[in-house]
Amino acid sequence: MKRIGLALLVGLTAAASAQAAPRADYATLPSPLAPLSPAPPLGGGASASSEGFRHRIAATTRVDVSLDPTGAPFALAATQQLDVGVLGDYFFTIGAPVLDVEAAPGSASTPGLRASSILWTGFNPGHRTLIARITLNTTAAASLPLRIEVAPGRVTLVNTTAVVAGSYTADALVPPLLSYLAQLRRQIARGQSPTSGAAYVTSKPTATRLRVVAPLHVTGTVGGHHVDAIVEGRLVVRGRGPVRLTVTPASLDRLLSAPTAGRTGRQLLERVERAALTLARVRQYETFLGNPDPTGPSRTAYVYRSATPPAPIPTAIVAPKERDWATTIAVAAGLLLAAAGALFAWSKS
């Protein structure tokens, strides 16, 4: 009897607290995985033909960008290493505006070339390393994360990853948002793919737009100046000389670990949405070339170097062989005179 009474009391308390809590509607948060623009990854990304199982693949890419004296890219190449786990056949397509491809040292296989992709086919005995050296069309420069502008006495680094993404604002319950933020932090710390989350909103959501930028960690030198900075907008480096910079998408620890105490549900919702969208944007630049394993880890480093563009092949100027009218008439007249002379001489002989 005592037990029944206790159960009733607990039930009544729960019902009362549920009545006291504001009515909350389930609303999905922006995906931390869905790309916010068509590229990167280039060429629609990568794919693996399905034969009933999925390979686990870690992709590491280095993009070499050759800069002319104004800072404009004139040549692009990428070296992509795929560390493939899971025994079995593989057939991977890596989309890209590719001009040529070859196997790099250490590759267990040779990549194939198609008009807008490279192909990897073969059998993986358990672990296989595939490394391709790819010459890219310079059209791919439009998807680079950093633009470099060289002017007399200064070099400006411009983060070009900004994009405006659709979002919403509303009052929301705080605990689920904090829990999702903690989940994202854990997943990023463990190198796992982030998963999508949801919010419980207590007011009508209003559509809004968020400007999202992938922060870039830039290290290297501009002339004699050492650079080590997080670039989210523009960075002006005073100096001149060759550019040697390595750019990687920056860690999002700062965004995910910022203090949350005292924030309202509305403010926290905006923070979480921005975090998810920024993760999605960073993920795009970590996969400049696609990874055939959509949930596999991908890392990309962009290496910008000043270089000398190849001299354009001189165009041979060939003088036209056509004669002008005056020359033609003169030649014809000369021939006629010669013929007449010869005829006269023959008639007298």
């Binding site: 034969e51 009933g52 056949d89 491809v101 194939g112 073969g122 059998f123 005995p125």
Partner: protein, 408 residues
């Protein structure tokens, strides 16, 4: 009168119904030539032809729609009789007939490709494995769906060297054996210590007793025989009749029905024979290949080896070369669609850009750098027991493959 009107209306309705779909006869035929040794190797020629016909029949069910016109594939055959001169003459005829592609066994291809290339016509080699046959730069029109000699030799070296065997490399003086010798020399160049003796055998000899004895005296602990099926059968006979139970390894020729037919009186001599070949099944299992085999047998009947297992079950041959021809014709159909043209040169270019699912469930594809439809990784090993073979378990790829039913 009423009846007459009813009959007339009925006839009109019938005629209207007939006009709804494009009848096959309204389609334009595109010729695919099968250039194979029908008179000298009838089994091989016929299985290649059947594979091409099976694919063409399936493609023709819907036809190939290009620029508002529907095309059918029509397969015609030409016999090379294993003669390079005839193979070249056939290629001229194929070009003269404005064929859209040639499915070729490979004889004489080193000369014939130029004739096809003049017209830009794609040639798919589905048997010969010589390394020089495929070169996307100098021979952009030549493609292959069959294991290459280079791949076979390297996979054999990869499989056998770690076993610590001292191998006798025996190759006959046929074109096939000579190509094998070149491939084996290259594959074992880094592991000469694994080679006990290297011998060329006369392809037309009946008894290889002396050569096998020399191999035994050279302390060989394994025989790697690269030659025609008759050579392989004769080497097995020489070794086993001398009581030498040495392991024997071969290229795909070891699985040729002729070897088992020759040794039908001594089935135990075949036991343990291990050959390298292109895999017939994919990770997803036997289903795709068995479906293909069922369609093949429904259309053309079962290819029997002519021997039985110890339990008396007749042994059959899985249609391997037919599978390669089938896949090539399907790739041609895909290339026609991609090119949106029947111009042979455009089809050749498009072949570098298309992928189809092969009869064994694997992806079949070429690209601008590689015209090999069977990659080296797809070469597996199988061992005979009781006249049928099963993938070996001591090779990573082979261990993943199921055994195909080979009796009826």
């Amino acid at each position: 009168m009423r009846r007459l009107i009813l009959v007339a209306v009925g006839l009109l309705l019938l005629l209207t119904g007939c006009g709804g779909t494009s009848a096959p006869s309204a389609r334009t035929a595109l010729t695919i030539v099968v250039n194979a040794p029908f008179s000298r190797s009838p089994y091989l020629g016929r299985t290649i032809e059947n594979g091409a016909r099976l694919a063409a029949g399936e493609v023709n069910a819907n036809g190939i729609r290009i620029n508002g016109r529907t095309y059918d594939l029509r397969v015609t055959t030409m016999d090379t009789a294993l003669s390079p001169a005839r193979a070249v003459a056939n290629m001229r005829r194929a070009v003269g007939q404005h064929a859209v592609a040639v499915v070729d066994e490979g004889t004489g291809i080193d000369a014939a490709w130029r004739i096809a290339n003049g017209d830009g016509m794609p040639v798919g080699v589905v048997f010969e494995g010589g390394r020089q046959i495929i070169d996307p730069v100098t021979r952009p029109d030549v493609f292959r769906i069959a294991p290459s000699d280079h791949g076979i030799a390297f996979r054999l070296a990869e499989y056998l060297v770690p076993k610590g065997l001292k191998l006798a490399l025996l190759h006959d003086d046929s074109d096939y054996g000579a190509a094998g010798e070149r491939a084996l020399t290259s594959a074992f160049s880094q592991n000469r210590s694994a080679v006990a003796i290297d011998e060329t055998l006369p392809a037309d000899a009946l008894d290889f007793g002396p050569q096998v004895l020399r191999a035994r005296r050279a302390h060989a602990t394994g025989l790697l025989v690269w030659g025609r099926p008759a050579t392989i059968a004769a080497v097995l006979t020489a070794a086993r009749s001398a009581g030498w139970n040495v392991p024997v390894f071969t290229p795909p020729a070891g699985s040729d029905p002729f070897v088992r037919q020759q040794l039908a009186d001594h089935p135990r001599w075949v036991d343990g024979l291990t050959f390298a070949g292109g895999r017939l099944t994919a990770e997803i299992g036997t289903a795709p290949f068995l479906t293909f085999q069922q369609k093949y047998e429904s259309a053309f009947g079962v290819d029997r080896v002519g021997v039985t297992t110890s339990a008396g079950h007749p042994v059959i041959v899985p249609p391997e070369s037919a599978m390669y021809a089938y896949d090539f014709v399907n790739l041609i159909a895909a290339a026609l669609l991609r090119a949106a043209s029947t111009g042979p040169a455009k089809v050749t270019t498009a072949l570098n850009e298309v992928t189809t699912e092969g009869a064994n469930g694997d992806q079949r594809a070429f690209n601008r750098h590689n015209h090999e439809g069977v990659v080296d990784d797809d070469i597996y090993f199988a061992r005979f027991h009781d006249m049928i073979y099963a993938p070996v378990k001591d090779d990573p790829l082979s261990a993943t493959l199921p055994t195909l039913p080979q009796t009826r």
